[in-house]
Amino acid sequence: MLAVAALMILVGLVALVVTDAGSASELAWLGAGTAAALLAAGMAAGSPGPVHAAVLLLGAIFLARHDLRLLLAPLYGAGLLQLEALATRTIELRGVALIAPEAIWSRTAATLLVAAVGACVAAAAALVVTVGPGRSVALTAAGAIAAVGAFAAIARFARGRYRRSE
């Protein structure tokens, strides 16, 4: 069921791109097909690598859309996150013989909540980009420093508290 939901989200995301891809629609379809194949292969093989590759590919084909890209990006990003969550949950549940439905719903609801918060933050960032001044070296550097800082904080926190699982 989770795998079907992931594939449905993929269809929705692809539809969002190809409806306004214009001349790049063939490229978008190719990317979408490859992403679908990668997603299905990852879920079938129980490996999260192809799933994340599919997510990256879907993110790349989003650039094929012509209009309202910045406006739809938060929604698209949240959709990508939900797709990744459902696909990886499918992989996790491969070895599980019996699971209570509430255990699935609680995780899905938590992911949806975080995806919604992420979409809001992304929308705020998009708003800042839209209403803010044009591209400059200073702004680019500030954005790069903010992104690197966020990654460094996450990596340091993770390294301090947890060991990587094999």
Partner: protein, 425 residues
């Protein structure tokens, strides 16, 4: 419990980093906006993950069961934390103890609450098993951190060999002068008619055979065979076994030993066990139900232990093999030491019977023609060995574990009868 990062976190951070770098490189802010939820997800997942406070315990419906049966188990999980946790119960005993349903069992344990998971365990064969502690895996609410640990106590589960009813047993050559179910060769008070002989002083009047007296003109009395018990020693060969993925000759040998012990004890015989292998264990012959449980417990502990030690009949204490005891050797006849022991016992005049647990079901010939030839030669060697043992007066019956033990015992009895008749003739 020990916490570790799930493999998923690498992928999430890789997607976020790729989006950010691509946005900076191409000057397209949409890519950074696409990556932002992933970055927030990773951060939120790691900051929200805290060590779960889960307590687990396991209960078994029964501590003893018969081979082939399943036992119901209940795992009780209680969560002392203020938020619900996803718990997976991971099977800790693959192979010998099969979990039904197979695989991990997932459940949501509510905040400050308790949940029970029911499952069943089916042992693959007889033996003594330990169940627990439980292997628990808890994932954080977003699945980025995994906590694993073992919780709960260890329970013992004893699986007895499956019961086989035997209608006929090997009749002992000698009996003990105690009440039992075997018709003794000696004469005395009993039910079974033996002979008619002239009256002697001291004979009871009720034993007078009036018809024979009338025919012969002098008082004649009936002689009878008394019903006696016997001593039976089960000799379990644990030097070597033939084994495939599913089962081995020792599994079958233990089943046979348990069935024979049960049947002989039911006939009021004294039964003892000798586990003759790399390690030597024995149980002196005794009567009754308690002895049956002692024997089965001893059988459950039997295992093939690799050893170079040479053992013979002298290794056995005298009291383990009482004089006149019927010795039932249950062996696949695969190890030279067990063959030497059987030969030695026969030469010492013991009342010995060999139940050969056929190893052929567990050994397949290789694919080549020379493999097939070697397999045939091995068959012939075993036939020759059997003939050699029979020439020594040892009753040897080949038992195919897929069939019941009854025909093998009947074969033994037939051999012993014919050997006796040959001796008298």
């Amino acid at each position: 419990m020990r916490g570790s990062l799930s493999p998923r976190i690498r992928g999430v951070l890789a997607v976020a980093a790729t989006g950010m770098i691509a946005a900076l490189a191409t000057g397209r802010p949409e890519l950074a906006v696409l990556a932002a939820p992933f970055l927030i997800f990773a951060g939120a997942g790691l900051f929200l993950a805290g060590e779960p406070r889960v307590v687990a315990d396991i209960e078994l419906e029964r501590a003893r069961l018969l081979e082939g049966e399943a036992v119901a188990a209940t795992a009780r999980l209680s969560n002392e934390a203020g938020r619900a946790v996803n718990v997976e119960l991971v099977p800790a005993h693959p192979g010998q103890l099969v979990l039904e349903p197979s695989g991990a069992l997932g459940v949501l344990v509510p905040a400050k609450g308790e949940t029970a998971i029911r499952f069943s365990l089916r042992p693959a064969r007889w033996g003594a098993y330990s169940v627990g502690p439980l292997v628990i895996r808890v994932r954080d609410p977003l699945g980025l951190v995994i906590w694993e640990g073992t919780l709960g106590r260890r329970l013992n589960l004893r699986v007895f060999p499956r019961e086989e009813r035997l209608r006929e047993l090997v009749a002992p050559s000698r009996t003990r002068p105690f009440l039992g179910n075997h018709v003794a060769r000696s004469r005395g008070e009993g039910i079974e008619f033996a002979d008619v002989r002239p009256f002697q002083v001291g004979d009871r009047v009720r034993r007078v055979n009036w018809r024979a007296t009338a025919r012969r003109g002098a008082l004649q009395v009936n002689d009878r065979h008394p019903e006696h018990s016997s001593d039976v020693v089960l000799l379990l060969d644990t030097f070597a076994e033939a084994r495939d993925a599913a089962s081995g000759t020792l599994d079958s040998a233990v089943r046979a030993a348990a069935a024979l012990a049960r049947a002989h004890l039911a006939r009021r015989d004294r039964v003892g066990v000798v586990d003759f292998g790399g390690t030597l264990h024995w149980l002196e012959p005794a009567f009754g139900t308690n002895q049956l449980y002692r024997i089965i417990d001893a059988l459950l502990a039997s295992d093939v232990a690799f050893s170079y030690a040479w053992r013979d009949a002298v290794s056995l204490p005298r009291r383990v093999l009482p004089p006149g005891a019927l010795i039932l050797a249950i062996t696949p006849l695969l190890d030279e030491r067990s063959i030497a022991l059987v030969t030695d016992l026969a030469r010492r005049g013991c009342d010995l019977t060999v139940v050969e647990v056929s190893p052929f079901d567990h050994v397949r010939p290789g694919p080549s023609a020379s493999d097939a030839l070697a397999y045939r030669l091995w068959h012939l060697e075993r036939d020759a060995l059997r003939a050699r043992l029979r020439a020594l007066g040892i009753a040897v019956a080949v038992w195919d574990p897929d069939l019941t033990l009854g025909p093998a015992l009947e074969e033994v009895n037939a051999f012993r009868r014919s050997a006796r008749h040959a001796a008298f003739a």
